[in-house]
């Protein structure tokens, strides 16, 4: 594992940049545990201060330090993204592997449901869920809803991998050796599916974070919990752009773009590592 990481860092420039960016942002987000003030406190500092030696990224119109707000916000946004990713991976793996392994009628039924879910527009459904939940909408509920909507594309991918494993020799051996379906799937097939899970997890994380930003920018989440989208929401509420308080909006946008860039570079370089064909073409074959 560490050897792979070392080789990727040494030979793959995209991975190196992505790794450093993501790590830097993660450390920055981690710093919020040592923040000098609670992230929910408002009107603690003089409002609308431009970036200075005392307030590096300035303060908001609500009297918060932009730097520390951002630190908490990135942490919360990443936490949301990871929760969605883990939940939706569980679903995708379960449905994909069972569908691929069983084949036949089960496969047809599961994949029909899967394709139906893909065709449903996510945002209107999420907005409807928010609308009917309103104030009882907390971030875990939102994460669970997002996870329920975000697994189907990857389930199809995982299914296609399992489908090809089903007819391999070792699967037949395992069946004859008396292994149960669960044992075969977990012990025999899961290792082969792992790379796909990992790669789709990266993409799913990016998707989930984008979703969180989108929804909280509109104020459709717990607006008192700092998130990147939530910061932009409050900045819009206070008309920061018109008032000239650019630092309130520019820094969160820069942070989110850097985070996306880092994760995206990681995702494509990991994909390249997993798919040997693109590695060959890098070598000039």
């Amino acid at each position: 594992m560490f050897k792979i990481l070392r080789d990727l860092l040494r030979y793959n420039i995209e991975f190196t940049i992505g790794f450093i960016l993501t790590l830097a942002i993660f450390l920055f987000a981690l710093a919020h545990f040592w923040a000098p003030m609670p992230d929910s406190a408002i009107y603690l500092l003089p409002p609308d201060m431009p970036p200075s030696a005392e307030y590096w990224f300035g303060t908001t119109s609500r009297g918060q330090d932009v730097l520390w707000q951002m630190s908490s916000a990135i942490w919360n946004t990443m936490l949301f993204g990871l929760t969605v990713t883990i939940l939706s991976r569980l679903l995708a793996v379960a449905v994909g592997m069972i569908s691929g392994y069983l084949g036949g009628r089960w496969d047809q039924v599961l994949m029909t449901i899967n394709d139906t879910m893909i065709a449903l527009p996510n945002i209107p459904i999420l907005l409807l869920v928010y609308f009917v939940m309103r104030d009882s909408m907390s971030w875990p509920v939102l994460a669970a809803t997002a996870a329920l909507l975000g697994w189907n594309y990857d389930a199809r991918l995982i299914r296609s991998v399992t489908l090809s494993l089903r007819n391999r020799e070792f699967t037949r051996h395992a069946v004859f050796a008396g292994m149960s379906m669960r044992q075969i799937l977990v012990r025999q097939h899961l290792p082969y599916v792992m790379p796909v899970i990992f790669f789709t997890a990266m993409n799913n994380l990016i998707w989930a974070i984008g979703l969180e930003v989108t929804l909280s920018v509109l104020g459709f989440s717990d607006i008192n919990r700092p998130t990147i989208g939530g910061m932009i929401y409050w900045a819009n509420q206070h008309q920061a752009i018109i008032a000239g308080i650019w630092w309130w909006i520019a820094f969160p946008i820069a942070a989110i773009v850097l985070l996306f860039l880092g994760l995206f570079l990681l995702a494509i370089s990991v994909n390249e590592y997993i798919d040997p064909r693109s590695r060959l073409s890098r070598m000039g074959a």
Binding site: T112, I113, D115, T116, M117, I118, A119, L120, P121, N122, I123, P124, I125, L127, L128, V129, Y130, F131, V132, M133, R134, S136, Y153, I206, G210, L211, V213, T214, V217, L218, F220, I232, I241, I249, I253, I256, V257, F260, L261, L263, F264, I268, R277, S278, S281
Partner: protein, 334 residues
């Protein structure tokens, strides 16, 4: 024709299934939620001042009737389907007494126009650039544009739109940032109106194009770079077929098939991006309608827009499925 008919029936079945499950889901979300829409609307209405308790009761009755929340679960479900099929979601509360349906019908052409423009541009451009980048792998210009497109790819539509709005709306104000057309112009086929239509649509469409192009570019490039090493392409190259023909007929055409499937699959999420973009640029489509409905607590409007957008996306996917056999003869011949 047999294979085509079979294909068509299968796709039609899928389309109906999507609509059935989607509409049922919308119903389930609204009925199973712990919050009663009637009480919610009541608290919204009575918050303006003291109301006579008797009229509150009457209003509660009327709202339950209006929202189709009378009777048991099955009755409500059936009556919901009845309303969907009749296209009758009742009057909108925030724009009383305009029916929700006429609000949606007024907004739908805007969304369809915007989405079609953005999709056609981003799909064509993304695939073309992706195919070129996959075919001419050593071209520096394509590599640079590829890196730029890829960097934009993961950024959500709202952020791209906000940055565009700040750059082209405030810092260097050359484009209108709000609305679908100039307010004081009479809609019609006049030059002025069409010009303002295009100008107002540019920023929202650009947002969607920039947000969508990366996905097409990436998948097309990897598809093409795989096909390039296929036997039939290598054989054609050795046989001296000119490279333009190899590119368009041997490589790009084959790679386009999965991309068309991808287009159908992505419509749902593209629509989601359009919702946000419309709201950001105050574009008079269904997305803005939906978000305004949520802000104003307009239950019928939100439910109506969600249901109609599920149906509209399903129908659009079906239309793309109809194009597929034109490109892939295997489907046509069965």
């Amino acid at each position: 024709m047999d294979g085509f008919a079979k294909y068509l029936v299968r796709r039609l079945f899928q389309c109906f299934l999507v609509i059935f499950l989607g509409v049922s889901l919308a119903f389930l979300i609204t009925t199973l939620s712990p919050i009663d829409p009637v009480e919610q609307t009541m608290s919204l209405m009575t918050s303006f001042g003291a109301t006579d308790p008797r009229s509150v009761d009457l209003m509660r009755e009327a709202l339950a009737e209006l929202y189709g929340l009378k009777g048991n679960f099955i009755e409500q479900y059936l009556s919901f389907w009845g309303r969907v099929l009749r296209g009758d979601f009742g009057p909108s509360l925030s724009a009383f007494p305009t029916p929700v349906m006429s609000l949606i019908m007024g907004a739908l052409p805007w969304t369809i126009g915007l989405l079609m423009m953005a999709l056609v541009i981003s799909w064509t451009l993304g695939n073309l650039l992706g195919a070129l980048a996959g075919y001419f792998r050593s071209n520096t210009l394509l590599k640079i544009s590829g890196a730029a497109i890829m960097a934009l790819n993961p950024v959500p539509a709202y952020i791209i739109g906000l940055v565009l709005l700040l750059m082209l709306g405030y810092i260097w104000p050359i484009l209108p940032i709000s609305g679908g057309a100039q307010m004081n112009l009479q809609p019609g086929f006049t030059f002025d109106y069409l010009r303002s239509l295009v100008l107002h649509g540019t920023l929202p469409a650009l947002t969607l194009v920039l947000g969508g192009i990366g996905g097409w570019f990436l998948s097309m490039r990897s598809l093409v770079s795989n096909i390039v090493t296929d036997d039939h392409v290598v054989y054609a190259e050795l046989g001296g077929v000119n490279s333009g023909k190899i590119f368009s007929q041997y490589v790009a055409r084959n790679a386009l098939l999965p991309q068309l499937t991808g287009l159908a699959l992505s419509l749902g999420s593209v629509f989601g991006g359009a919702v946000i973009t419309e709201f950001l640029f105050n574009y008079p489509g269904v997305g803005r309608l939906l978000i305004q409905g949520i802000y104003r607590g307009d239950y019928s409007l939100v439910l109506g827009v969600t249901t109609i957008s599920i149906i509209a996306v399903a129908v659009a996917v079906f239309i793309i499925d109809l194009i597929y056999p034109l490109i892939d003869p295997r489907v046509r011949l069965g």
